[in-house]
Assembly symmetry: C2
Homo-oligomer: 435 residues x 2
Amino acid sequence: MTERHDAVDVIRVKRDGGTLSDDQIDWVVDAYTRGVVADEQMSSLAMAILQRGMSRAEIARWTAAMIATGERLDFSGLGRPTADKHSTGGVGDKITLPLAPLVAVYGVAVPQLSGRGLGHTGGTLDKLESIPGWRAALSNEEMHAQLREVGPVICAAGSGLAPADKKLYALRDVTGTVEAIPLIASSIMSKKIAEGTGVLVLDVKVGSGAFMKDIDQARELAETMVNLGADAGVRTSALLTDMSTPLGYAIGNGNEVKESLDVLAGGGPADVVELTVALAKEMLAGAGITDADPAEALRDGRAMDMWRRMIAAQGGDVDAEMPEAPHVEEVRADRDGVLTRVDALGFGVAAWRLGAGRARKEDPVQVSAGVMLHKTLGETVKAGDVIATLHTETESRMPRGLAALDEACGGDGAIAIGDGPVERRIVLDRVESAI
Amino acid sequence: MTERHDAVDVIRVKRDGGTLSDDQIDWVVDAYTRGVVADEQMSSLAMAILQRGMSRAEIARWTAAMIATGERLDFSGLGRPTADKHSTGGVGDKITLPLAPLVAVYGVAVPQLSGRGLGHTGGTLDKLESIPGWRAALSNEEMHAQLREVGPVICAAGSGLAPADKKLYALRDVTGTVEAIPLIASSIMSKKIAEGTGVLVLDVKVGSGAFMKDIDQARELAETMVNLGADAGVRTSALLTDMSTPLGYAIGNGNEVKESLDVLAGGGPADVVELTVALAKEMLAGAGITDADPAEALRDGRAMDMWRRMIAAQGGDVDAEMPEAPHVEEVRADRDGVLTRVDALGFGVAAWRLGAGRARKEDPVQVSAGVMLHKTLGETVKAGDVIATLHTETESRMPRGLAALDEACGGDGAIAIGDGPVERRIVLDRVESAI
């Protein structure tokens, strides 16, 4: 078959700062998925996109082209609104666990397609797999049935959604082209749009533990994604939220499930509750429900009931206890004072090295590995107080976990104790489509 | 074996506009040659280099790293100076044929490693292979012997020189990264430095038929290469020369040999003679010979004698007649006037399509295919005069050759006839190292 474009011609346009035509975009994404455009050609194009950028129209077309390489789900027959949340990834970010059942309390279906962790950021599926019997892999039919009959579903994205993205993401990972905002935005949004949700709320993380280190980059990414959603007919908004400090006290898998259960029981860390409620309000507002008080549904047990139904529907043992790790070390305060730094990246890397995360997609994760903070940012400590405990199932990992805390922040360490009070803000800004 | 760098880290440095360290450059070039750095990683890096540029020190190191992947020739034992010329490629550029024996007349050894044509630019080896019996492939020993005993040698570069460049060039060709001046310069200079010449003169072409379309780009390339040569201890200078019009009247293979013989016999087109003499003076001056009059050696037969010895030494039949193509078409003037345009690219593409050139490295070329100009830029024509004849061994190629002339210059055609006189300059500028 004769191809209607030449890869080098397409690369040259972007290389020289031009705008790719709709047909060039459609072709290059499709031809790459078919293997006609080679990896070395796509990586060169990705670098040109990183350097030269893309217009809003180009990004929208690129996203549509990625969606067109796979299947699209359709929830229009459910008879109720659908809302989904996507986080760009953080440390201790277990928000999806309480959030999905909480939003479903109000009659909204929550088709929460989630991923696994890579590097220092955790993955929702890894956390939920701490629950014995719980199944991440559902067929489209099972997913539909659960949305209809229960409301919330957290499961693995099938390989049929935007296969171009899967191939392109793996390529970007090894070619230094992950950090291109048009490609990050289209990667996330292609899957979310293909998934067929009616409302999408983005939690764009900012700070040391996040992909975006400063708020201007994060805002650009949020605006790009919100516009993409709007262009595709999905009601999309974004919160820019702090990820310089871990969310909550638990960083890991089983311990994050436990902390989520505290939140669903009406307690839990203030920051986790605040962000869960803020995102729930965004999702509900998108679905037209503006008079709900999600904090109330956490306190009165309705969210917990929904959680139990959701977990049980996927085979999970809702009453299972999370196991304790056999190897535990304590990190103590060396002076009196206030915690002025609890670095998200440092603690994320520590938990990862202890066994909670993975370096390669095919690695297993440990249920009981991770870090438990006993104190967090802004709290008062006395010399000798335990600030954190490190947990692992593999003794040899412990020194590497401890070292990650010392090496954090350019060797200054993941923890700092000072004098003054510390102001902590969770939600930094909100972005919605200008159009 | 553990690698001492990570490809993604190296890519990121250049991607973000930084300077690669010597050790990063040494590693990435070597690791790419060994296959440890993948094609898709090198193409992403090449695009980053294209976008971000490289410092003089980075380019010198990159070139040295490419040289280090292969062997280096050494002519220091010859007992006479060595000088070589490199052209960036043009249409009708047969200069190497008279130039190499001409310079050798003065006792200079000329180790002229040459290439084959690709696309609309011809290749010196393709032209010389029009001579029955002539062998392009010499062993290093044969090359040395000919330099010592005859003086000039024009032969194929062995695969042992800068193998990294061969692999990288093939990659750049399919990834839209050919046009990066640091990579063009290091590609050319790595082979020339590894070849071991003492003096190098660069003929950097400018104009429609050249790789560099404007003189500022050409000057940047020339300066980069001249500096690279100087940094490597090779006496290097460059002439920027016009390639908006073909050189001479012959464009092809056998016909260019014939025209070269005219020059070696003391005649030939004025532009070819002018450039041959100018480049010979540069090479001789580099070798410390400043009192030579190369035009004299063309007129008095010394250059022709040297040509015959050079060709015979490589098995060529020096008295062979060049064959005539069976299919010939004429292009005639449609009005009286002066030729104000004879477009190098248009005629180069025509000759290529007629069979003189190749689209892929493995294609054969035709000895008798090409174009003969009967008039060139600035000459007077009358309506009906033959301006050019097209020659091919394959009848079906003729319409495509004719069409190339009509399609040239955005459809205005390769030929224009006007009124005024036309000034033609061959040598536009000269560049030597500032240091």
